[in-house]
Amino acid sequence: MDDDRRRVVAWVGRDILPHEADVRAWLRRSMVPVNEIEDIVQDAYCRLAGMTEVGHIANPRAYFFTVARSIVVDRMRRARVVRMETVAEIDALNVVWDDPSPERITAARRELERVKGLIAGLPGRCRHIFELRKIEGLSQREIAKRLGVTETIVENDVVRGLRLILKAIAEGEGEAAEAIRTERSHGRTRDRKGH
């Protein structure tokens, strides 16, 4: 990864991912059909992936919302369907991104705790592997040797853990990290109550 790319990836991790749950919530409020939300979010990241420089973006949260909005508008144009609710929400969009509520500021301050919480929320061996990889700095090969498992098992657990972390990010990190934890301590049958 060259420096430009690394800067963009780091910026997305730090300044974009934490707002993904809010963008998704806004899309739901805008009556965007559930099956389209996933595509819109992915499309938004596609547009971010085309960037080589991010230093000029003053407000990443607002930028993320703006990108999502333009994708929704494009889609409405192409489908020639205008949903009134969507239009209303889109007009009110700047209220959403301009509102740095106290909780949100606190959330940003706790970046480190947030990231640690994501790892702590992973189940069993998965968590152990993420700790060895990200906190102790061991390579996948060394982890495999340490745990006496194959490298494939480690790699598969990296995939599994990262999938849970992306899910946590999509659902709002605090809640979802907690959900994973609850699932771990109460067994997989317990349903998570959404709200």
Binding site: G13, Y45, L48, I105, K134, E136, V158
Partner: protein
Amino acid sequence: MGERATAKVIEDQALAWVARLDREASHAALEAELNAWLEGDSRRRGAFLRAQAAWMQLDRAGVLGVSEERETRRPSRRWLVTGGAVAAAVGGVSVWGVARGVLDARIRTVRGEIRRVPLEDGSMLAVNTESQLKVALDRTMRRVDLERGETWFQVAKDMARPFVVVAGDVRVRAVGTAFSVRRHERGSDVLVTEGVVEVWSANAPEHVRRLSVGDHAFVSEAMGPGMSQSAAAEIDRRLAWRGGDIVLDGDTLGDAVVEFNRYNTRQLRIEGPGLASEALVGRFRTNEPEAFARAVAVTAEARVLMDDEVIRISRL
């Protein structure tokens, strides 16, 4: 939509790529395969960026991982069985026999990046924003050239191999200890957080000074070390960057702005007389100069004007 892969399927493939790239060292054939996959569907770049960003942000957990919490955390039974070396790392590291981490390498951080790098001998580096280092470990010596910037070193004990940091003409020698070195134009600041180090300049090798835990000294390239000062109360504050924080305790606005500007492309500027000497107290994130400017506006009765490149703080 039947023939089109769903967003979910693409996400799974992107995750597999991130895990695989983390496992295998980068080589041409792998890159070619990745590029072919990325080009196969325009949506893949987005999913890949998202997965890669989620993976990379987890590195932040490690910057402070060793010195914080881990010491107080009670290991589970499984940790006791398999985590012997982990426990050693917490206790100060001496039995990491397994080859791990960096042996010989160049390390570079971009603006705003803070990275933790484990070395092969069990030592640990926390590398601050815009820094550049060269690491060379061999049988007789462990040498790190700090070419630019600032790094905190937690050195694994190894009597047979001294650990020497070379910062221009400045030299810092340690056996098993922890300290930070920050390069400036004419010398380096050295701050000791554990044990004892020796500092000198290659231009005045006879003038060596011992610094022990809590000491701070400026070592000039030309003259060697100046008087050491006790900075025990200051250490946590001055090394708060390892956790991504800037802690101000009576620092002037002028100094605080210089500090923030080390980490951000969007630069802070102070306009108008007297404002720069206002004293400030508070804890801020290195990457949130906006929040800092807003706090200043309130406490120092100043006005903040922001555009994409500059945040101006001026008198009302």
